[in-house]
């Protein structure tokens, strides 16, 4: 592994498209459209506005504007009548709470200002992690458009008392008649709520609780139940693993809620312990992108490979089929056996039998990595019970349905059956935070508060008992589901009192309630439950699995969830819609991912337009008689014969118009199975316009932006400066000298005071994008919408670049394959069917010798002594010279006013959405440049806190939004003048390098070379 590797960002770039080349030369992808106006002579001549008129207008408007500016507005200050004791205006309060919305679960800290939550961060003490969706959940709180505001019955407002009376009367009527009532919820993982539901069922013996997860992991839970007698998901301690083999399990995405923290903890080259991770998959997933070796096979072959692995590991001979990757599988089996109890196999196939095989392999390996005691409770959905419920509703067996925060009409593949059944019910009650189709079809609609307004508890695994507390007064007339159920079971207790006594008696064991609430969690002892081992016939499971996979024909569809939208619960959240997918870099869309070979055969392509946007052709996808028309995205690394499509899009009911994007893939999600066989794909007419940033911010052929080394290289004694982390050399005075020895600028003494540096470890960065959303929230970064993203005007201060690189990376490797001459280069640069992927978070590098600063005509951007490149928005006149001169392409121009502008109808254009704005950071106006400030408002706040307390700043006290959101510890921020700070050592590390170091901009953002475990001896 050396630097001969070719890095590329899109298929078009590999093909050598001239447009891509042109684009890479331009700072702004779109030309200013002067020609459109000036070039058209006719328009000019026919224009009724003469030059004189034009000058008059200019003069008049300038005069009017200046006159208007003379009068400042009168501002009112309205203080509290009674100020709450714990609120100091202008000072943030942090509350520990838990998020549990049915799909995303996290122990979090919530920052509130003047009683408004404005940011969510991981509760690191509780070992909490946040994803982009958890970070963005704070904006969904203020979703005025979708949130339910008052209880209604049949569309008419009704009081809570009347609603309760009527529901209770109906419930007792159904009880008398012994007609079944079903309580349909998502996974809540809440012990106190489970108890309340028990009480409700005791009071209404005709009631039943069914758990429905839109995106199900029913197979894994069922398999675990069969083998270990408990319906839960096993936990995986990937930090201790030596060999990880995953068959399509996107465990850095949503598999088991995401295992990125323990995964990354087990991949530290500096400690010498780095797991070897092989991903066998068809879609290019986040996990596959991070793996050491990615084996590309279509889903049916994944099944056979899994069976073959089982055979190879256990020596059994269950029915299977030969695949093209059998030699790799054999190698994997021997690796796994060598790792023994430190090996683990995971599979993302939502199929009980496949999951059983994986569990059996782990059992055969005697794996310590899989934890069957400390199980996960976050995916309790039961597909079988849900389909039973639908048939019971249709047949009239079920007469009442109380649903809570689920939308089966949107997310069921057989939603028409569900709606039909719903109409037959005698009682339909929807308790929901947000409006949706199911709510709309229900008779009683009872609004529930957002989790940031609620009391509650959540137990994600068996150890951490998380508590949920309100961080804001309820915005609307809502009531918690627990209060409703308590009321309907005839219990007059308020849920808060119930929760407190429940936790005190059952969980806390004498420990203080207030302390647990303050911490947001309480750690329990793990109870071992191995006694319950059931005998399962693996050969049966294997036979069933293999026979179903043998039926595979046509294209194979792998349905998946995207990092941005997940199961689609937060589809009305503009931050998530604008969040570019880590792999495809497309926002505001889902699409059919197709391999390059299949695309060529079927005639699909993604031509790049001259404004840097890419287009796509439409495909008609049919499965089981259901059809959807989706745009196609050609995806390197997609298995030939397979296609991928994301769930969670295409939601329309009640959503803002801009947010109604993508195609609903749930109709294809038959029986909750993420793999669908027998799919036909057919090209249909039409061109789709993608909003994809992958071509727009190209690196213009600049090499050395990325450095990748193997574990063997990094741990060897070879001098990195001459092997895997070579510094840049430049020609000076006809000699090759190290770039850092010469400089255009004078050196400043930076040893006094603070000097901030940010270190980004490319090995630990999984590309999850939590930092991107955290940056949005912290810095009031505007959302610009699909059209603007398409033309490259996205405002992300922090983006995560994704680079592909080809498998045959070096000349040596090519030569070893017997290539020479032109073929050799072609092989190196050939468009790879299975590229390696590297993520690189990119933001303002805060160069000590910043090219942008020297070209600003008004000195609006200048350098601070603490290392930050400062941007004074009020000084900027918008010449955009700085952006042109920035080699990193991180400066963003405000082409429009993005706040209070109906053209950009996102959160900054409505009174509720604006409540999420950070009051310490100004909302920029049109015509100014902006960029990452290295969260100067946060570093200044830390300094001020120390000053007020009369002490020096503590070690590692400085944080930025991105570094505190980063749960894998890839981003480390601090003061390098404090040698105790973690970052001080990282900057000096042998893996550290500056991007484009031959330019000698001396960035204050330092990257750590990405290390891959190539599993060499």
């Amino acid at each position: 592994m050396a630097s001969d590797k070719k890095y590329w960002q899109s298929v078009e770039e590999l093909k050598g498209s001239s447009i891509v080349e042109t684009l890479s030369e331009n700072e702004f992808v779109e030309e200013i459209p002067t020609d459109q106006f000036l070039g058209d002579k006719e328009t000019l001549e026919n224009s009724s506005t003469s030059r004189r008129d034009f000058l008059k207008y200019v003069g008049f408007t300038t005069a009017a504007a200046s006159l208007a500016a003379c009068e400042g507005p009168v501002r009112k200050s309205i203080p509290y009548v009674v100020k709450p004791d714990d609120v100091t205006l202008g000072v943030a309060d942090w509350y520990a709470t838990s998020m549990a919305d049915g799909y995303d679960f996290a122990n979090v800290l919530v920052k509130t200002r003047e009683g408004r939550p404005i940011q969510i961060m991981p509760n690191k003490e509780a070992n909490g992690t946040t994803s982009a969706r958890v970070q963005a959940a704070v904006l969904s709180l203020y979703d005025e458009k979708l949130r339910l505001k008052e209880p209604t019955k049949g569309g008419e407002a009704i009081s809570w008392a009347d609603a309760d009376k009527e529901v209770k009367a109906k419930l007792s009527e159904l009880k008398e008649a012994n007609k079944s009532v079903v309580l349909l919820t998502g996974s809540m993982a809440s012990p106190s709520t489970d108890k309340i539901i028990e009480g409700f069922i005791a009071a209404n013996p005709n009631a039943k609780h069914v758990v429905y997860d839109a995106v199900s992991e029913s197979g894994a839970a069922d398999a675990f139940m069969a083998m270990y007698g408990k319906r839960a998901l096993p936990n995986y301690h990937l930090d201790k693993a030596k060999t990880i083999v995953s068959f399509g399990a996107d465990f850095l995405g949503d598999f088991h809620g995401g295992l990125e923290k323990s995964y990354v903890a087990g991949r530290k080259s500096e400690t010498g312990h780095m797991s070897y991770h092989v991903q066998v998959e068809s879609n290019m997933s986040l996990t596959g992108a991070n793996s050491d070796k990615r084996v590309v096979v279509k889903p049916s072959d994944q099944v056979f490979a899994l069976l073959n692995l089982y055979n190879a590991v256990t020596g059994a001979n269950v029915p299977s089929k030969a695949t093209s990757v059998d030699s790799t599988v054999k190698k994997l089996a021997s690796d796994l056996k060598k790792s023994g109890s430190k090996g683990v196999v995971l599979t993302g196939l939502n199929d009980k039998n496949a999951q059983l095989i994986a569990l059996a392999i782990n059992k055969a390996l005697n794996s310590e990595i899989i934890d069957i005691n400390n199980t996960l409770n976050i995916r309790q959905g039961n597909d079988a019970e849900v389909s039973q419920l639908i048939s019971d509703m249709k047949s009239g067996k079920v007469a009442g349905l109380i649903s809570y925060n689920v939308d089966p009409i949107y997310s069921l593949s057989n939603s028409s059956d569900f709606s039909e059944g719903l109409k037959k019910l005698e009682l339909s009650v929807a308790l929901s935070t947000e409006n949706n189709e199911t709510v709309n079809a229900s008779n009683f609609v009872l609004p529930t508060p957002h989790f940031l307004e609620s009391w509650g508890d959540a137990q994600f695994d068996s150890v951490t008992y998380g508590l949920m507390q309100p961080t804001i007064q309820p915005l609307f007339n809502t009531r918690q589901v627990q209060d409703a159920l308590l009321n309907w079971s005839g219990d007059a207790t308020k849920y808060y009192d119930y929760l407190k006594s429940f936790a005190t008696t059952n969980i806390l064991g004498g420990s203080s309630w207030n302390k647990a609430l303050h911490n947001g969690f309480f750690t329990k002892e793990v109870v071992n439950s191995e006694a319950n081992l059931a005998e399962v016939s693996i050969s049966d499971a294997a036979a069933k699995l293999s026979s179903s996979a043998k039926k595979a024909s046509g294209f194979e569809l792998n349905l998946y969830t995207k990092t941005g939208l997940g199961d689609g619960k937060q589809a009305n959240n503009p931050w998530l819609q604008e969040f570019p997918d880590p792999i495809t870099r497309a926002s505001w869309d889902n699409y059919l991912m197709m391999s390059m070979a299949d695309a060529r055969e079927l005639g699909f392509s993604n031509p790049v337009k001259d404004n840097g946007a890419i287009d796509g052709d439409y495909a008609k996808v049919s499965v089981n008689g259901k059809e959807v028309v989706v745009p196609v995205m050609v995806q390197p690394g997609q298995a030939i014969g397979s296609v991928g499509l994301a769930l969670g899009y295409g939601k329309t009911f009640g959503l803002n118009e801009e947010m109604q994007v993508g195609v609903n893939a749930y109709p294809l999600y038959t029986n909750g199975n993420n793999i669908q066989y027998g799919v036909t794909v057919e090209k249909v007419s039409g061109t789709h316009k993608f909003a994809c940033t992958q071509v727009q911010k190209t690196i213009a052929g600049r090499h050395d932006i990325l450095k990748v080394a193997s574990l063997k290289q990094v741990t060897s004694n070879a001098d990195p400066k001459h092997t895997w982390n070579k510094p840049a050399f430049v020609s000076y005075d006809h000699n090759e000298v190290e770039a850092k020895t010469i400089d255009l600028w004078d050196e400043h003494n930076r040893e006094i005071g603070h000097h901030f540096n940010l270190s980004i470890d490319l090995t630990s960065c999984t590309g999850c994008g939590a930092c991107v959303v955290a940056c949005h929230a912290e810095n009031n970064v505007p959302v610009v919408g699909k059209k603007e993203v398409r033309v490259g005007r996205d405002m992300h201060w922090l983006r995560i670049d994704r680079y592909y690189s080809s498998e045959i990376a070096t000349r040596e490797e090519a030569k070893a394959q017997g290539l020479s001459g032109g073929d050799l280069y072609k092989a190196i640069e050939t468009e790879a069917e299975n590229p390696e992927v590297t993520f690189q978070p990119m933001m303002c590098q805060h160069c000590n010798h910043a090219p942008c600063e020297t070209v600003c005509p008004v000195a609006a951007t200048s350098h601070g002594r603490q290392g930050q490149n400062q941007m004074a928005y009020n000084r900027c006149v918008g010449t955009r010279y700085c952006a042109n001169n920035c080699p990193y392409r991180v400066r963003r121009f405000n082409w429009f006013n993005y706040s209070n502008n109906n053209e950009f109808d996102f959160n900054m254009n409505n009174e509720y959405g604006k409540m999420v704005l950070n009051p310490d950071v100004v909302v920029r106006s049109r015509g100014v440049m902006e960029k990452c400030s290295m969260c100067i408002q946060m570093t200044q706040a830390t300094i001020l806190k120390a000053k007020k307390e009369g002490r020096a700043v503590n070690t590692d006290e400085f944080e930025t939004a991105c570094s505190s959101a980063c749960t894998t510890g890839a981003m480390v921020f601090g003061d390098i003048n404090n040698k105790e700070d973690k970052v001080a050592a990282l900057v000096e590390d042998k893996k550290a390098y500056g991007v484009l170091d031959y330019l000698q901009t001396k960035p204050n953002v330092i990257y750590q070379v990405k290390v891959k475990n190539t599993n060499e001896a």
Partner: protein, 434 residues
């Protein structure tokens, strides 16, 4: 300038002089009663310090109104009650028990430390009440206010006087000339002719022409830019507030610490407009101002006791306080103050940095607030004004461990004993603009 009503200084002046005249004319009336002033003063002092938190003279508070109490109760009974009412009740005194029950069993503090003379003084005060000294008060108010006002209008008057004087001299000169017979009356005057010649000369002299043009252009530019630079600078901005709150009475006369009300100034970026419950800490007991309190607003409006009591009633309305039954009704209506000091959104200013860390007096930026009957913006709040201070001010960093090392290093670097704020980096754009 802001588009709110501003006070007309001229009317105010006129009104002020008018009131002064009126008051002066009627100031002949003098004390009406024969009062032992020393005793009254002594009694008042004791009353204010011991009794006033629960009693008023003319109004029920926590305890009964005490005006004329001597007429209603025996002196001995009062002494016994004041010194130790619990004992009196325990002795089975019926009146005492009745009073106790009437006031819902609220316990009155015992004052065994008071001598008989003390109690008599207090009772004397309750009987004679306040001594009225109208003249002195009015006099003070008028002269006090006008002395602080001089420059603005004085300049206009002086200027007009000079112009008038100039015109008079000119006409006198003209007459003298005519009388001397230099010119016949009716012909164009000397002055006019001189001006003509000057003009003709000017027209001929290119150098003078150019010089005059440049001079005029410079003046024009000066005026033009001077005007532009004042756009958005609201020095002196003094909007009318929903409640005629006087900082002079609170911070000046009663010496309430600024940060008692603006309590977040030491913790936060904002100084915090006090919530109404902070007002109620005192105003629960102070439902009316002292009889002689007068607030003079800029436009000559003089608020006396009657008006000011109504202002306090506004606070009660906001807090939802029922002053008659002494209880909160829960019907609150927040006060919509007009913000006086406005910084643009793109500036980050933090009070606690200046108040807690730097230890600045509030008056440094806000001016003599304790003398302001109605608050105005004292400083221009422009960036130049901020920077000037940052450039000049040497920071007193003693005792703050944060600065220990950094100050040592910087002092060595700049070769000074004490560094200025700008040497510390207080002039960097990003420190205030983000």
């Amino acid at each position: 300038m802001k588009s709110v009503e501003l006070h007309n200084r001229l009317t105010k002046l006129l009104l002020k002089s008018f009131t002064f005249l009126l008051i002066f004319a009627f100031s002949m009336s003098s004390y009406s009663q024969d009062i032992d002033e020393a005793r009254q003063k002594e009694g008042k002092k004791l009353f204010k310090s011991l009794c006033a938190s629960c009693h008023k003279l003319d109004k029920k508070l926590i305890g009964p109104a005490l005006s004329g109490i001597e007429e209603r109760r025996e002196n001995d009974w009062l002494k016994a009650w004041i010194k130790n009412n619990a004992e009196l009740r325990a002795s089975g005194d019926r009146d005492a028990i009745a009073v106790f029950e009437e006031y819902k069993g609220s316990n009155m503090t015992a004052f065994p430390q008071l001598s008989d003379k003390n109690v008599d003084d207090i009772l004397y005060y309750t009987t004679v009440g306040e001594i009225k000294k109208k003249v002195a008060v009015a006099d003070n108010a008028t002269s006090g206010a006008s002395s602080g006002e001089a420059p603005g209008w004085l300049i206009y008057i002086l200027a007009s006087a000079i112009i008038v004087a100039f015109l008079m001299i000119a006409s006198l000169l003209k007459q003298v000339n005519e009388l001397k017979g230099n010119t016949a009356p009716g012909e164009s005057s000397n002055l006019k002719r001189d001006l003509h010649e000057l003009w003709a000369g000017l027209k001929r002299n290119t150098f003078l022409k150019v010089l005059t043009t440049i001079f005029l252009m410079l003046i024009g530019a000066y005026v033009f830019f001077g005007t532009l630079f004042k756009v958005g600078v609201d020095e002196g901005y003094q909007p009318i507030q929903p409640i005629a709150f006087s900082h002079k009475i609170h911070a000046g006369d009663n010496k309430i610490d600024c940060q008692y009300c603006h309590s977040s100034a030491k913790h936060s970026k904002t100084s915090g407009i006090p919530s109404v419950n902070v007002c109620m800490n005192c105003h629960k007991n102070i439902s009316e101002v002292a009889d002689d309190t007068v607030v003079e607003l800029e436009d000559g409006i003089v608020l006396g006791k009657e008006e000011l009591d109504l202002e306090i009633a506004k606070v009660y309305k906001a807090a939802g306080w029922d002053a008659d039954n002494l209880e909160y009704t829960g019907e609150t209506s927040p006060i919509k103050w007009v913000r006086v000091h406005n910084l643009p959104d793109f500036v980050y200013f933090n009070h606690s940095q200046h108040v807690t860390v730097a230890g600045l007096e509030c008056q440094k930026c806000h001016g003599p607030v304790e003398e302001m009957e109605e608050l105005y913006q004292h400083s221009p709040l422009t960036m130049g004004w901020c920077i000037d201070c940052h450039k000049e001010t040497k920071v007193d960093l003693k005792g703050n461990d944060y600065y220990k090392k950094i100050h040592e290093d910087l002092a060595k670097k700049y070769n000074v004993d004490q560094v200025t704020i700008s040497q510390l980096g207080g002039k960097e754009c990003g420190k205030c603009h983000y």
